[in-house]
Symmetry: C2
Subunit: 229 residues, 2 copies
Amino acid sequence: MPVSQPTSIQRPSPVALHRAEVKRPRGRPRKTAEDRDDGNRRAALLQAAAALFRRKGFAATTTRDIAAAAGMQSGSPFYHFKSKDALLFAVMEEGMTSALARQHTTLALSRAANPLAQLRGLVHAHFLVLLGPQSDFIPVMLYESRSLKPAQREKLSALQSQYENLWVPVLKALHASGHLRAPVVLARLLILGALNWSVQWFDPHKKASVDDLSDAAMALFVGGSVASS
Amino acid sequence: MPVSQPTSIQRPSPVALHRAEVKRPRGRPRKTAEDRDDGNRRAALLQAAAALFRRKGFAATTTRDIAAAAGMQSGSPFYHFKSKDALLFAVMEEGMTSALARQHTTLALSRAANPLAQLRGLVHAHFLVLLGPQSDFIPVMLYESRSLKPAQREKLSALQSQYENLWVPVLKALHASGHLRAPVVLARLLILGALNWSVQWFDPHKKASVDDLSDAAMALFVGGSVASS
DNA sequence: CCTACCGATCGGTAGG
DNA sequence: CCTACCGATCGGTAGG
């Protein structure tokens, strides 16, 4: 099974870059096969790290835990990531990028709808990001950001602001129409908090579904069903 | 400046209790001095641990950090607490006991008031517990409980249930009167989540006060001012 | 409560 | 990506 060079997603170190440019024998298509595999292993590490960081926290998770969960030996994660910190940052960045894309789609699909329906769309999609399948990345970002170094935190805060700002026009419209009674800025903070906290108590094996949660949240925040616009 | 004995809030371990009962030489008032000192140092450790656990998390905080913050040498915390785990548990138990007492007082004071005023009282007191002076203990309990051993978590969950159940009658009354539109159980989870999340973003140096937050939360959850009952 | 210390674990690296 | 390893740190303890 062929093995791998780093994909361009991860910035290659000067050394690796140099290697990639210089050495390149003529034989079989080594690079393609290599890249595929590496993306594979890198993605496995990200997924394993996200799951462990979420369950045990960043500081309580060892790089050996992560390596084992991805089926590697203890030193191997450092072939893909410069440090444990870099792994944490990659998990968060991946989570935010994917969540942002999801919410952009949600808003695009409900552009013609009324603000209540738009809020319901944002709420539902946010619950899915937190509680749905492959939902380890964003909870890690929400609950482990104090483990980031300042420079990393700054990079992420740009994405976070983008995400929060998606909610503002919708909330403003609902405030203007009288559906939302609290000031928009505080409302955004309180609403996202109510949703974010669900990762602490939501149990997919119990009766309440993500749809039930979304209905309850809408009833709580804007006092009724989407229909009653 | 007289210093305090441990309040009965902290249950003394059987060993300490035994010692206090048995040994009591006749000379100077040794026991008093010892206990006073011990309560002093123990409380300092609890406070230092709470602040550090809140800021850096349990796993990322070393017992040496805590000792230094309390002005001790590295091995000394283990004279007062059996283990780092025990310190975490003590912080949480102290926080819960104190928060419960506070909310009982709140409810007692507003027993004659209408449910909206009662909710406002609970919300305000909860914000104070999270964000007011000496507010490190409850945030630690909220955000670090996964670091507890199962037996410890079980002991705490009794106190947590007590705390949550204080809200239910008030929410039920508001649901019956039409002020609260969401199902009571989910409403309690979402409301407490919205409040709990405030520890992530509240900045006492900014303009919004705890009173402003309470007003906004009431407006968001029950759509208006307390007066409009 | 301090001094002096131990055993285990951890992030990370060299070299292939 | 593995093997073999290092230096540092950490929770905890003995003995006073």
